[in-house]
Symmetry: C2
């Protein structure tokens, strides 16, 4: 939902103080992320952890939850942004930079019933049209994942279907069910 | 949301009495449409009317609101189903048939915040993978339309963007704004 009546420039937007939930900027309009709830939080952590557990020890990629990314005239805070290792921006001291102005390699958005369907689909189409290789739309209500890639028909995956990350993380496969198991206390392994 | 615990066959499903909101059937599971609200009702009528006003006098196509369509193993009640004139099933007396077992040429679904994002997108992808030429996802919260066509990346259209129906209704163009004007009392022409 728009929270500002007047149109801002990207520079004006980036000068605003950060808020919680995070503000986002799209075509002159400032919107605010939805309040984080239990299923959202559990899935957001699980996605980041599944990626990091595989990709960090191998120095292949790193997943950042709730990271502001600003590129192609917009500023979003995806639920999880994944950057391949050699694309993670660093400061002069070799530490992870504070500001990210390049598109992530992968973006994960976890939808909730409070969000407009078309707005989140439009966002995923925008991501993969502006340099992101894979955008995942994770829907706990439907226990499904929509996979968006540049120039391709979105795939709808459920249950035992595996998400294939060949383009950014060869050898990493993620069964959709593994994600949603994070919502079931009984399915959690220590 | 699933409303039946046990899996049904399509034949078993089709024998169930009709309910309001309508029941739908997908992969063994029975679900119920969401309750119709003001914006949904206004948009559903407007879409059907815009199509019929153009296509009925020309005997090109006909739009049916709330019509049960059963094909490829599923049974849905799209908000609006459009059939080209020569594909409308008729009975022995030349009247519109009661049962539709062929995919519509176009389907329009109007989303609400109560619906799962991925479930409605999955449905549109299924439609255009099973013989439907165009599926529109109309979102009053976002004032946008997602256009799905077989084998193509979905298009996100807003405001002055025109939906092009060349494949099913040449010469008919529908600006997205014309649809959402139906929600503004001040924009309504007599």
């Amino acid at each position: 939902m728009a929270i500002s009546q007047r149109q801002l420039t990207l520079d004006e937007f980036l000068k605003l103080p950060e808020e919680e939930p995070a503000l986002e900027f799209e075509e002159g309009t400032v919107t605010q992320k939805v309040s984080p709830k239990g299923q959202h939080s559990a899935l957001q952590y699980e996605v980041a952890e599944l990626f990091n557990r595989f990709a960090r020890p191998r120095r292949l990629a790193r997943a950042f939850p709730e990271l502001r990314v600003t590129f192609a005239g917009r500023s979003y805070v995806p639920d999880v942004a994944v950057y391949r290792w050699d694309r993670i921006p660093v400061d002069a001291a070799g530490r992870v930079a504070n500001d990210f102005f390049e598109p992530p390699d992968m973006v994960v958005e976890i939808v909730s019933l409070e969000q407009s369907t078309n707005a989140v689909v439009r966002r995923c189409l925008w991501y993969v049209g502006r340099g992101v290789s894979v955008a995942l739309l994770v829907d706990p209500a439907d226990e499904s994942v929509l996979v968006f890639r540049p120039g391709q028909v979105p795939q709808a995956l459920r249950g035992p279907d595996e998400i294939d990350f060949a383009d950014i993380l060869p050898a990493f496969k993620l069964p959709v069910q593994a994600l949603f198991d994070a919502l079931r206390m009984s399915a959690l392994t220590p």
